[in-house]
């Protein structure tokens, strides 16, 4: 059998893509070209098929890993069914309500220079995000419902006790420590940008790093300090389970820009948010819909009708809006 160089190059390119070695740009270009070349597309599809079949047949993870993953499965089904979605739980609960018009309060604490230890607390009311700029140039954003107590010691140390979700943009300063405390856990910042969410009720910590480095600690013990920019860490305090995965800054910080972010969120939870946000009552005509999962990013200034239409278009949900004489409004999902 004879093979010319060109076709082998093609297989090499295919492998490059399938093995995940291509850059984002290469991938994007490659799939764009497939969209316009059905011949190439079916070649690649066949190639991928063989690749996947082969992996299915001959690859397996190591025995310990399988055992561990089975144990997770077994404990999940025997505790609560709702626990099994571990990847984004913090984010989906983090999506709290922001005001239609975002009230951003810029507090400047210039006076901090003249005192040795100064503490202030900041809380972001439901429906608002707040931001603060500290004397050293650090910028902090707090998502709706977040509370924090900030203490500045002699310009060389700043601590933030956090409950809720916040975004940090901290300039590097080797003479100043910046520590965020969540109960006995803490994040040491070394000049970075990151998003941190502490869900005290569910005992979950989610740390997404965008620039620089951070160290995640429990008391004095270093739990994790290898997080790279573009990665996020999920930490479950109850079972000390940690997951590291790739994250997307635009996505995670969407709340900062006044957007609803839903990631695999059941309709019942989305309904709760819409109820609070638009001051309506939502009823389910069809109970099965409650568990339908939705993902998406929607501007909070969008009208309720528009959001409902989006939900309708992307699923088999139907809705009816019922305006009452007393001005209240009912939405029925069916």
């Amino acid at each position: 059998m004879c093979l010319d160089i060109k076709t082998i190059t093609l297989e090499k390119d295919f492998l490059h893509i399938l093995k995940g070695k291509a850059t984002k740009k290469e991938r994007s270009q490659f799939f764009e070209s497939l969209a316009h070349n059905s011949n190439l597309k079916s070649e690649f599809m066949a190639f991928q098929k063989i690749w996947v079949l082969n992996n299915m047949k001959y690859r397996s993870r190591d025995k310990k890993k399988i055992k561990k993953s089975f144990n997770r499965f077994w404990s999940d089904i025997n505790t609560s069914y709702s626990l099994y979605r571990r990847i984004w739980p913090t984010l989906s609960t983090a999506v709290a309500l922001l005001a239609i018009c975002l009230i951003v309060s810029n507090l400047l604490f210039k006076d901090l220079f003249f005192t040795s230890v100064e503490t202030f607390t900041i809380s972001s009311p439901k429906g608002n995000i707040s931001s603060v700029e500290l004397s050293d140039g650090s910028k902090l954003w707090f998502n709706s419902g977040a509370k924090a107590s900030v203490t500045v010691y002699n310009h060389d140390k700043i601590t933030v006790e956090l409950n809720g979700e916040a975004f940090f943009d901290i300039p590097h300063d080797k003479n100043r420590e910046f520590i965020i405390e969540m109960g006995e856990y803490s994040v040491y910042d070394l000049g970075t940008q990151f998003n941190l969410k502490y869900d005290k009720d569910n005992q979950l910590i989610n740390l997404s790093l965008f620039e620089g480095e951070v160290a995640f600690k429990k008391g004095e013990n270093n739990l994790y300090s290898d997080l790279l920019p573009g990665e996020a860490l999920n930490y479950n305090i109850k079972n000390a389970h940690k997951t590291v995965y790739q994250c997307d800054k635009d996505y995670i910080t969407a709340w900062k820009h006044g957007k609803f972010v839903f990631i695999d969120q059941p309709l019942i939870e989305i309904a709760k948010e819409l109820e609070e946000w638009y001051d309506v009552t939502i009823e389910f005509g069809n109970g099965e819909l409650k568990d339908d999962l939705f993902s998406g990013v929607i501007k909070r200034r969008t009208s309720m009708e528009h959001i409902l239409k989006v939900l309708q278009l992307t699923s088999n949900l139907n809705y009816a809006i019922d305006y009452q004489k007393d001005g209240s409004c009912y939405v029925i999902f069916e």
Partner: protein, 192 residues
């Protein structure tokens, strides 16, 4: 090893562990192949097993558990890709061609577990038909999980040669197996 269906229906740990060990990785590599995200893929297959657990009481004595798992996994992956596409529309539209392709490709993948099994037999046969030197390199890489470098040092050839042989093997397989592509793909040829 047969599936202990009664054990599955009555929720026995042993029965679930058996099917888990037997099918999880296979389904996992299917999911990885099309979803391209290890953590996600694991969760999607995990969800399929949870669904099986939740629905175990609806199974009959002749239910095809492996096909059920296969179908749920495929459905979960398609659903996931569809959701990703909706998300991407808002802030990452450069991902859309890839996500559209992935959905189409996965949709075109075997319709049932029986199809997977017969395809596997065909692939196997095609591998056996490869020229000797190419087959050896291919098997070392695919079945023994050796890297190109390891194979190169074992066979005393350059890693480039190994890479070329693997590419050749895949090319030959693709040509050999093109008759088994689903009709939908062949239709393109007639419609063009």
């Amino acid at each position: 090893m047969d599936i202990d269906l009664q054990g599955v229906i009555s929720g026995k740990k042993r029965a679930f562990e058996d099917i888990y060990n037997k099918y999880f990785d296979l389904l996992f590599y299917l999911a990885v192949g099309y979803v391209n995200d290890y953590t996600r893929a694991e969760d999607l297959v995990h969800d399929a097993f949870i669904k099986l657990w939740e629905r175990r009481k609806d199974l009959y004595s002749d239910s095809n558990v492996k096909n059920l798992l296969y179908t749920i996994t495929k459905h979960n992956c398609l659903n996931h890709l569809r959701q990703q596409e909706i998300i991407a529309k808002n802030c990452r539209d450069y991902l859309i061609p890839e996500l559209k392709y992935r959905q189409e490709a996965l949709d075109n993948f075997a319709n049932s577990f029986e199809d997977v099994e017969s395809l596997l037999v065909i692939v196997e046969r095609a591998i056996d038909n490869l020229p000797e030197d190419i087959r050896m390199v291919f098997k070392m890489n695919r079945f023994e999980n050796l890297t190109y470098r390891e194979i190169a040092s074992k066979l005393d050839v350059s890693p480039k040669t190994v890479e070329a042989r693997i590419s050749k093997a895949l090319k030959l397989l693709r040509v050999e197996l093109k008759d088994y592509l689903p009709l939908a793909q062949l239709m393109f040829w007639f419609l063009r």
